[in-house]
């Protein structure tokens, strides 16, 4: 009898989550004796909330959001970190005159909220740029999850992921030379992205720990397969997309970019990366994500067993 595991994604089905779909389709979960259900997320679903409500056993989340949830009384713990580096960046029109972050002053910038605003706010506060408009500061727009504000020139810069929105801007017919990009990674304000989290109290249950060990092992196997077979992985993702709205070309390119982010990780969280994320967040401005150094927010217990 297979153990049931429900995984809550933090976004709609796309190649960003290829590793899990590959593990499912290629039977890696089954080989580990797991019956995995993958629940896609959406714009207004907060995965920690789902976890807290008992709607899922394990979730994917960006670390800022997970740490914020921890402070809010939902004790989630990082058990694995398949994404080594961050794909988040700002994409700006070159003709807006922006060359360095200092030039953001007086400009309009689209930012994703719902937990993704933290790294940006922390970056701006480190630079000493106010975020409430004016000639001296930036005007922040709450950007929906598409690139229209840039194309329609409603904003000078918008948030993009290397693997998704940036490609959409190019697809729209904009040349790379017309754009200027600022990768958070390169600005030294990157935070950890897609990690695997569970509720702390569940880790006291050895059966659950065992289940998670097998889950992480199979998932990482899926990721490595996806890195090596990007096209096939993209097709697997497409097969799992219930909306029928994704295109093959876009998913294949996305898989290529995602592979760059997962490349450096075997699933084990690098404590240095964790510390950098926490430092970035603690440096946040007036409305900090987290107010104190978190404790027990990650564990190597699972990955240590999984990667033996």
């Amino acid at each position: 009898q297979d153990d049931d595991v429900t995984l809550q994604l933090q976004w709609v089905t796309q190649a960003q989550f290829a590793g899990y779909y590959v593990a499912l389709e290629n039977g890696y979960y089954e080989e580990e004796g797991l019956d995995v259900t993958i629940q896609p997320g959406g714009p207004d679903i907060a995965p920690p909330q789902v976890l807290a409500g008992g709607g899922a056993d394990v979730m994917l989340n960006w670390m800022p959001s997970a740490l914020a949830a921890r402070e809010r009384g939902v004790p989630v713990v990082n058990i694995a970190q398949p994404f080594k580096s961050s794909g988040l960046m700002l994409t700006c029109w070159a003709d807006s005159g922006i060359e360095s972050p200092e030039d953001f002053r007086g400009k309009t910038i689209g930012v994703w909220f719902f937990g993704n605003e933290y790294p940006f706010l922390s970056w701006m506060s480190q630079l000493g740029i106010p975020t409430d408009g004016g000639d001296d500061g930036v005007t922040v727009l709450r950007q929906a999850f598409n690139v229209d504000p840039l194309l329609q020139r409603q904003a000078d810069c918008i948030s993009t992921m290397t693997y998704n929105e940036y490609g959409q801007v190019l697809d729209a017919g904009v040349g790379e030379d017309e754009l200027v990009t600022f990768l958070y990674e390169e600005q030294g304000v990157s935070t950890l992205e897609d990690g695997i989290y569970v509720l702390e109290e569940n880790l006291e249950d050895p059966a659950f720990v065992d289940k998670m060990v097998r889950f992480v092992r199979a998932s990482m196997r899926g990721w490595k397969w996806a890195e090596e077979n990007p096209t096939d992985a993209a097709i697997i993702v497409l097969d799992n997309d219930a909306t029928g709205a994704q295109t093959e070309a876009h998913q294949i390119r996305m898989m290529g970019e995602i592979a760059k982010l997962t490349a450096g990780s075997d699933g084990t969280l690098d404590p240095a990366d964790y510390q950098r994320t926490v430092d970035t967040l603690l440096a946040g401005g007036s409305d900090p994500v987290i107010t104190a150094e978190p404790e027990g927010a990650w564990t190597h217990a699972i990955t240590d067993l999984a990667l033996q």
């Binding site: 994604l9 709609v12 089905t13 629940q39 896609p40 997320g41 959406g42 714009p43 207004d44 679903i45 907060a46 909330q49 789902v50 409500g53 008992g54 709607g55 899922a56 929906a144 999850f145 598409n146 690139v147 229209d148 194309l151 329609q152 959409q168 729209a172 017919g173 904009v174 040349g175 017309e178 997309d241 219930a242 909306t243 029928g244 709205a245 994704q246 295109t247 876009h250």
Partner: protein, 287 residues
Amino acid sequence: MRSLIPILTILAAIVAIWYAGAVALNADWARQQAERQERVLTFSELVAETWSQDRPRLPAPHQVAVELWDTTVEQRITSRRSLIHHGWITLSVTLAGFAFGAALGIALAIGIVYNRAMDMSVMPWVIASQTIPILAIAPMIIVVLNSVGMQGFIPKAIIATYLSFFPVTVGMVKGLRAPTQMQLDQMKTWNASGLQGFLRLRLPSSMPYLFTSLKIAIAASLVGTIVGELPTGAVAGLGARLLAGSYYGQTVQIWSALFAAAALAAVLILAVGAVEKFTMRRMGFTR
């Protein structure tokens, strides 16, 4: 036939305005594109460009029509790319939500009409409940129900119910109170029981009101379903198509999903209308 002429005229006017609007809204982008390619557009080229963009601000009518055709007729109806497939998913939830909503609405109305305590206390809250922005609580409903193990169909149906019970309650309260004092007295002179009074007087009297509110309710149920489909991971259904279209900048896809939804609503309203006509004729209301 004669009644079609005004409709067609107005429709033609709308399409003309639409095409003109497409030129106006999409021209900027067309010029930028031309600049990138170092071309200069003549007016007719500009018009042609604005009517054939991949990511237009406003797609031209024929683009929407082609997309509708491609995603309905050209696809197997079981395909995930088929609007009929998504329409069916939305429809099934809509119908379930409508059924719950109508039942709840009628039950509440009966309570309000027959119980003075309910009449006095519940109605203001029923109205207040409709001032709550449903899109804001939809994700919460989904999470809460998810935590008790309900996913997909039922949460969406509950949101649809939430939107559709209100017009039914309001209409049925009016309808159940439609009998005149004289008709009620008449029942009393025959010493009719409460149940007889309900079945033979109040219920039949409320039929015209019921159907009017059912038409509003089924449209509301569709809106509720689509709202419910937005945050549920945009898995499937017309709402998911709308959202996915928005994520990937597929304006044409948004518009075609919108039209499919409006057409679905129109069909549902017509269907309720047909049931109404049949019932009313059977009951002898129609002259």
